[in-house]
Symmetry: C2
Subunit: 511 residues, 2 copies
Amino acid sequence: MAVPVWSVDPRTGKQREQAGAEATAADVDAAVRAAAAALPALADRSVRSRLLREAAGLLEESAAEVIATADAETALGVPRITGELARTAFQLRAFAGIVDEGTFLDVIIDHPDPAAHPIPRPDLRRYKIPLGVVAVYAASNFPLAFSVPGGDTASALAAGCPVVVKAHPDHPATSVLCADILRRAAVAAGLPADTVVLLHGFEAGVELVKHPLIAAAGFTGSVPGGRALFDAAAARPRPIPFYGELGSLNPVVVTAAAAAERAEQIGTGLAGSFTLGNGQFCTKPGLVLAPAGPDGDRLVGALTGAAQGALPGVLLDSRMRDTFLKGAAARAALPGVTVPVEPGEVPGDPLAVRPGYVEVAARDLAGQDAYEVLLEECFGPLTVVVRYGDDAELGAVLDRLPGNLTATAHLGADEAAEPDGSAVALLARLTALAGRVLVNGWPTGVAVAAAQHHGGPYPATTSTSTSVGGTAIERWLRPVAYQDTPPALLPPELRDSNPTRVPRRVDGIRE
Amino acid sequence: MAVPVWSVDPRTGKQREQAGAEATAADVDAAVRAAAAALPALADRSVRSRLLREAAGLLEESAAEVIATADAETALGVPRITGELARTAFQLRAFAGIVDEGTFLDVIIDHPDPAAHPIPRPDLRRYKIPLGVVAVYAASNFPLAFSVPGGDTASALAAGCPVVVKAHPDHPATSVLCADILRRAAVAAGLPADTVVLLHGFEAGVELVKHPLIAAAGFTGSVPGGRALFDAAAARPRPIPFYGELGSLNPVVVTAAAAAERAEQIGTGLAGSFTLGNGQFCTKPGLVLAPAGPDGDRLVGALTGAAQGALPGVLLDSRMRDTFLKGAAARAALPGVTVPVEPGEVPGDPLAVRPGYVEVAARDLAGQDAYEVLLEECFGPLTVVVRYGDDAELGAVLDRLPGNLTATAHLGADEAAEPDGSAVALLARLTALAGRVLVNGWPTGVAVAAAQHHGGPYPATTSTSTSVGGTAIERWLRPVAYQDTPPALLPPELRDSNPTRVPRRVDGIRE
């Protein structure tokens, strides 16, 4: 008997409809084989860009139904999901442009050189080819942009890889709608529908990463879940790359000068950032290092006011709500930790929570293992403010931090305009900790752009790659070099004539 | 008591001299910490290119001593090691040029765009930074080019990463000489000597990959050894990239047309390639698919003559010789396998072996698990010739092959000039199997070039990266993006003024 998968309304906890059934091992095998059969048809780049543009168009055409379904399953709210849909369509089209333009193929051609030192050089022509079928594990907190039609899927299809998506249980009906859109887009582009296949079920996800025909995986989720799949990917007879985005604290450092100049503005900005999307963004600032003393007091005063005024919000599911409440209580219970704004449940509302923050002195935090929990991500609207007395106390906290997606410095005007050694050293310190470094801003909000990097040292990500922005396509490719291969047997991009005009490096010269 | 490490003469089996001592866990820790302290000094690209050029110069100055020592330890012969030294010096200088030129930094700049769709875009500037201290595991068969001063070390230093090298026990004295050269080059470039640190000992190698400050590892060696280290790298609390080159069969397919046209030339060429360097190259053609019938018979006839005329050679150490002889005997003992030229020992010569090859029909090979050994690399001068009757038999063998560094097609003149569907399909099949595809050539000899790719599906390599050629530098870098960061706090490469004139992509335009 198939195990049903239900779409649930988090506002009421009630089942909405059956979205599908959990995939068995046989279903997983069939899905991967069907997707693998689509691989040759994706070799044509023009078909790939057509697929991506069709998908963007169909997603926009179905916007009303998709947004209503996603909101009903996630309670993220119509405005937020409307924006997310626009972002997702933009992302699909951006990758279509990247496919057409061809820089990602990384073409390098060296013509033969019989006089080369130390030995004659043959004709060598290198570009990148798709890895094979990609497994995508959808995220809870972005039912579109990091789920079925999201960045992992879009970049994998752009690379020429068929995709098998493991749906997130928090939005199975949205997943079904989006998979249908992608499959229709594939057919419209002249590709097999099974270019994208959807699966439900926890066990199916575990089977998927072990399947011999899966060539790589993309994941957005928690540290324990992501690490278990990473371990399974590495333990395969033939290991595969596992691109996981697991967890991030996103530290923010406020210098004394910044606090002196803009304490209230920073405190209010922080409240806006850590409560944005009800604290369910992977880039939520979860640890804020603010100076001790009166300027820092003004900062936390403004933070307190703004956090108290923030509205409660609904978390994605009951497990997350329980984990959030337990996590907040554990942090609040530590000796020396104060709770200026207490996070907590909302009576009568099954999944809603109120935002809050805790505060601790850097010297209390330093070197105490029991305080390690303050340096771990707490998913939801909570942040930890650490008050430091001097650079040594600040440095001691930074020394203990794991890897992050982002790290932020709030600097004084002089520090930013004419940095002294201490501001330079702070930026270097933050660079070592993260994949994106911000000055005088907030890390929530990840622009889809060529220069974006959304990744960072473990556990932020399990690789050096990004899952947002144009270079995300690099994850699904491998280079191959052709040596002394007759022109008629070369792919068009590697022929001297370069019929599709891709950017190349030929004998050391960019063309 | 320190465990001594001896340099041994493989021609006699006698100890030459004590080269050093096995590193203890404390030694490993001290080595990694010392190397880590050199990281900030490597941030300056001009210092890195100076280091690499100094190293090339010092290596050439010490050529006589290095070559004599390497030959005494490996018996690879003075001509071969002389060439390898030239290649190694060339490679160091090539990476110096790559560092100066700056393409590897992969700079992408997006200026802010308040009107960007779907949300305003901040100022984003991305480039790549060094990962940290790199562990390099030296190879047995290249005492220079894939060992202490080899491609992994050169590319890691070029990327800005200090290096801790684990010496190979087959050439510890050469390793000491080369480490000394690199350390002197570092000092000459104004860097700490500990920019490069050498360690001896198997246990030290295991400790090294687990050290918290090691950020990535490069390895060239066997499948079991490489896989054990790969597993250790993946199992760390903070997993690190492990770039291993493990093993490769390097299949060669000779079409019926090619055999009809050039049977003798191909047979002789094959003998030259599989016996080159006494069969101790990672790109040795270890499996050759030749047609059944008279043309194929002429090919193996020529192969037999050439292989019988090939001189015996000395293997790197007694373990390799024993493994080679056992491996050759196991393959020869399989039912249906013939041994036209029998490999074997050379009476009175402790490490020498005679080259040979075995032959089997594709239909005997197909589907029999006992024949799996024929599809595994046999390090040394042995190759396996598989005679196929038709495309189906050929395809069935190709279906069973693991990943490879190279795959080669020998085609007829018409197939190369005006390929039919079958030649196109063959190239596509070989492309799926390998990282370098050759037509009408031999895979031994790996040119150091920008377009080179020396890597391939597992077990050829454990990643999608190359260990030879300019793009090998990509392994030791990670991207970081700066958001809204004041110019004075940006690295020079990301400032609008671009003072070091690195290639960049600014607002979508290459400059």
